[in-house]
């Protein structure tokens, strides 16, 4: 499952969403997340769901791809929020395994999951439609980061896939020699996993130093004096994009207050 994580990996396609300015996309995503946190009602969440579906359609990223890339996190979200079912006080409920699941708890659980799913989906859509370089350029401009910090983020994102690949290989190599990560009690499993971390750490450092060397060899000396292949320039579709985002924010705030 680890190697299925496609979070932070660009999905190559030619769509309107891919062509939008990363600054617009980052700001729109943040606005979307804030709207989700404003209130908890069906009208607001329903509208935001529709907006998400519309955005996916515009992005040309297959829904199956998003689901596969996020299912690990979704599982964690569902499990963690499940506690709401039993801890929320309320009248009436169902008995599950000796615990009382209140109706209020079930509703709260549903909303929490709904909210988290939309947040995760929307931010992963940002990742899928924006290359790491564009994303860091955007972050750099939106949050006034220095060039070095931005480059650090680019490299970190690139290394996510390296790490998951490395982890997968080391685990396989250990399994091939009789290690087992799926059997035994929690202590035994934890012990097995700890043996993966040392070589993972060592190899990651080796690979990072190789990459550093390659960057040195290509004259990287920090952000100063660097030019950009794709500098960020707004055009008409971005302006329309901002107008749409503002309208959505207004609608969202209205729904949050009214219902």
């Amino acid at each position: 499952m680890l190697k299925d994580i496609t979070l932070g990996q660009y999905y190559s396609a030619d769509s309107l969403l891919h062509r939008l300015d990363p600054r617009l996309k980052i700001r729109a995503t943040i606005a979307y997340i804030i709207l989700l946190l404003l209130d908890r009602n069906v009208a607001l969440f329903g509208t935001l769901t529709l907006i998400f579906l519309g955005t996916v359609a515009l992005s040309k990223v297959p829904v199956a791809h998003i689901l596969r890339g996020t299912r690990g996190i979704l599982l964690v979200v569902v499990l963690c929020s499940a506690i709401n079912i039993f801890t929320t006080p309320g009248t009436g409920g169902v008995n599950v395994l000796g615990l009382t699941a209140t109706y209020a708890g079930i509703i709260k659980f549903a909303f929490v999951v709904w909210r988290m799913v939309l947040m995760i989906f929307m931010s992963s859509l940002l990742m899928y439609t924006t290359t790491p370089t564009e994303l860091t350029d955007g972050l750099e401009k939106c949050f006034h980061l220095s060039g070095n910090v931005a480059m650090g983020i680019t490299i970190a994102m690139r290394f996510l896939s390296v790490l998951s690949q490395e982890l997968d290989r080391i685990m396989k190599a250990q399994e091939a020699r009789g290690a087992s990560f799926h059997k035994g009690g929690p202590v035994k499993r934890l012990k097995a996993i700890s043996k993966v971390l040392v070589p993972l750490f060592q190899n990651s450092i080796d690979r990072a130093s190789n990459l550093g060397e390659a960057m040195d060899a290509r004259c990287y000396v920090g952000g100063k004096g660097r030019t950009k292949l794709k500098p960020l320039v707004y055009d008409s579709k971005d302006v329309i994009g901002y107008v749409v985002v503002l309208l959505v924010i207004a609608l969202g705030v209205f729904l949050a207050i009214k219902f």
Binding site: Q9, Y10, S12, A64, R68, T131, P132, T133, T154, I155, M157, R158, S161, V162, E166, R169, I170, K172, A173, Q174, E175, A176, R177, G178, A179, S180, K195, V198, P199, Q202, N203, D206, R207, N210, L211, E213, A214, M215, D216, A217, R218, C219, Y220, V221, G225, R226, T227, K228, L229, K230, P231
Partner: protein, 593 residues
């Protein structure tokens, strides 16, 4: 263009408190000259100092002694670092560790961006570099290059990634490109493509090429060859003198190119008399010139014959209609084959065709989408199968030793497997000692820390770790990649001994066609996720070429077969389904009138 005098470099080894514990003389007293537009090969076995040398050229390392002048500039002067790195570009060994961008254009532009090239010119440079690096066919036009520039790095093959790295260097408009074993992780076809690309850049653009390698065939493209041994320059010259009979390359851990070995056999048998032949084409032309009457008109290539094998499924690995991949994108499709006990099978195919993916299904490290794998009659994915017993029976040695060494020292690593499967500590210890002996490592290596081992030793320890499980079947993924000729031969000899003396069944993935020709008794060819051949080795190589009939695919067959096929195409009715050099020369002699 480059002038180096009395170069010396040392590696210092320090303990945790920073005290000097060891000092290794990496390089001593090297003089080196490169003219503008020269193609230079630098060879030497692992640890000879050639990679250190490469890094000094790019000023990634600073020598302790000597002078380095590059393009008229003192490379040791702090102020010239960027100028040096700009004019001497570097392509590294591992395609996965040197690309920075996630899309081709972003990566190719990286160096030029650092140089502060104006934005309008950047695009132009990226497109030109993509064309020059041979990533799109010549004449594909800017459209083709632009389309390519938009591709994701993750989707590219190893060979393409290396070309992207070359393009990234080209976009910086270098005067010189240093390749540090850049082809060693590639399949033969991609390897040849990279070398030919470099040759073109050298001839068309006048870029100086310095190629660090221990692949002897690649050195044949160089104008001048430098031979390093234990940090010293032991020979310098043209290929004629470096590959002369009396140059004792074996003493330096190296070997002669296959074509030179074949030439010597032909010379001994008086088929030819010319000592200055270094390519298959020249050899064919020479034989034709000396023996014109041995060539006829209308000689056709023989049809390849494919036999069907029968196997006893109880004592064998049986892969039945295996497919894997997700969704519409299949990595492997409908693959069936079997390996009987005691066989020595080689698996070939371009990088990225799914060779490792296929073999990882056998010890159930991967689950197939459909199809079944049986080992000695037992379904490996069945819920009731004892998975640990299965993994003891099937040893799997992965390609990268660093990803399968987990202990703090050699002994601790080798004993990892036996401990996992719950044998007694005494037995585990005994197995570890036996395994370390089997791979030919000395007794005093037991408590050596893993990070102190050389590349060749690491590969052996990795193999020992698997042998300590007492496997009946051994799957080896690229056991010789990255090793120099001597290291390669030693590793192959160990594998031979395991096969012959210990009776272990061998399944080996490798790009080394000569090794397969010499040692394996069966060949399996994967092509685009499908099994395209399974059978006799010589016929397999022949069929692989016959099916494409493309000159570019010649690199996939042993050199002697390349020669025989070319002779046959030129009209000599020679039997060309042969992978042994001596037999091949005999076949030629038979045809000479």
């Amino acid at each position: 263009m480059i002038k180096i005098r009395d170069l010396a470099f040392e590696y210092f080894d320090r303990d945790e408190e920073g005290n000097l514990t060891d000092m290794i003389n990496a390089i001593r007293g090297i003089n080196f000259d490169a003219r503008k537009g020269e193609f230079i090969g630098v060879c030497g076995k692992n640890g000879s100092g050639k990679s250190t040398f490469a890094r000094i050229l790019n000023r990634l390392l600073v020598p302790i002694e000597g002078t380095v002048v590059i393009g008229g500039k003192d490379a040791l002067d702090e102020d010239n670092i960027l100028d040096i790195r700009k004019s001497v570009g570097m392509v590294f060994q591992n395609p996965d560790d040197q690309l920075i961008g996630s899309v081709v254009s972003e990566d190719v532009a990286f160096g030029a961006e650092n140089l502060g090239v104006a934005q309008e010119e950047l695009w132009e440079r990226v497109i030109t570099a993509v064309e020059q690096a041979g990533l799109v066919a010549y004449g594909a036009g800017t459209d083709g290059a632009e389309k390519y520039a938009d591709r994701r790095i993750n989707e590219l093959s190893g060979g393409e990634k290396q070309k992207v790295a070359i393009a990234g260097v080209l976009a910086m408009k270098p005067q010189c490109i240093v390749l540090d074993e850049s082809t060693s992780m590639l399949d033969p076809k991609s390897r040849l493509e990279i070398i030919k690309t470099m040759k073109q850049l050298n001839e068309k653009l006048g870029i100086t090429i310095i190629m660090i390698t221990h692949m002897m065939e690649e050195l044949l493209y160089a104008d001048t060859i430098y031979l390093l041994h234990q940090g010293k320059l032991v020979a310098k010259g043209r290929k004629e003198s470096i590959f002369a009979k009396d140059s004792n390359l074996f003493d330096y851990g190296l070997d002669y190119p296959e074509i030179v070995k074949i030439r010597e056999i032909l010379l001994e048998n008086n088929v030819i008399r010319d000592k200055s032949i270094f390519t298959v084409e020249d050899m064919v032309a020479r034989i034709k010139k000396e023996h014109p009457y041995s060539f006829e008109l209308n000689v056709k290539l023989p049809e390849p014959m494919v036999e069907h094998r029968k196997i006893d499924p109880v004592n064998a690995i049986l892969v039945d209609k295996l497919s894997c991949g997700y969704g519409k994108k299949k990595v492997l499709e409908d693959i069936s084959f079997s390996v009987g006990k005691g066989e020595y099978v080689a698996v070939v195919g371009a990088t990225g065709t799914g060779k490792s993916t296929l073999l990882q299904h056998i010890p159930a490290l991967l689950k197939p989408l459909s199809g079944t794998v049986y080992v000695d009659g037992i379904d490996v994915n069945d819920r009731t199968t004892d998975i640990q017993a299965l993994r003891c029976k099937i040893g799997y040695v992965f390609q990268y030793a660093s990803q399968q060494l987990f202990g703090k020292n050699v002994y601790e690593d080798v004993v990892f497997g036996p401990r996992n499967v719950g044998v007694s500590e005494v037995e585990a210890e005994k197995r570890a000692y036996e395994a370390i002996k089997l791979v030919g490592l000395p007794d005093d290596i037991y408590d050596m820390p893993i990070n102190k081992l050389s590349g060749g030793q690491r590969k052996r320890v990795a193999l020992a770790g698997v042998l300590a499980m007492k496997p009946e079947y051994l799957i080896l993924d690229e056991p010789t990649s990255g090793l120099d000729p001597v290291g390669k031969r030693e590793m192959l000899d160990i594998i031979d001994a395991l096969h012959r003396e210990a009776g272990i069944t061998i399944i080996m993935v490798t790009h080394d066609v000569e090794a397969i020709a010499e040692r394996a008794d069966r060949l399996i060819v994967l092509d685009g996720g499908r099994l395209s051949y399974d059978g006799d080795v010589a016929m397999g190589f022949y069929k692989q070429w016959y099916d494409s009939q493309n000159v570019a695919d010649m690199a996939q067959v042993p050199v002697i077969m390349q020669l025989l096929i070319q002779l046959r195409l030129a009209g000599m009715p020679v039997d060309c389904v042969e992978t042994d050099s001596l037999n091949g020369v005999e076949n030629i002699i038979k045809c000479i009138r």
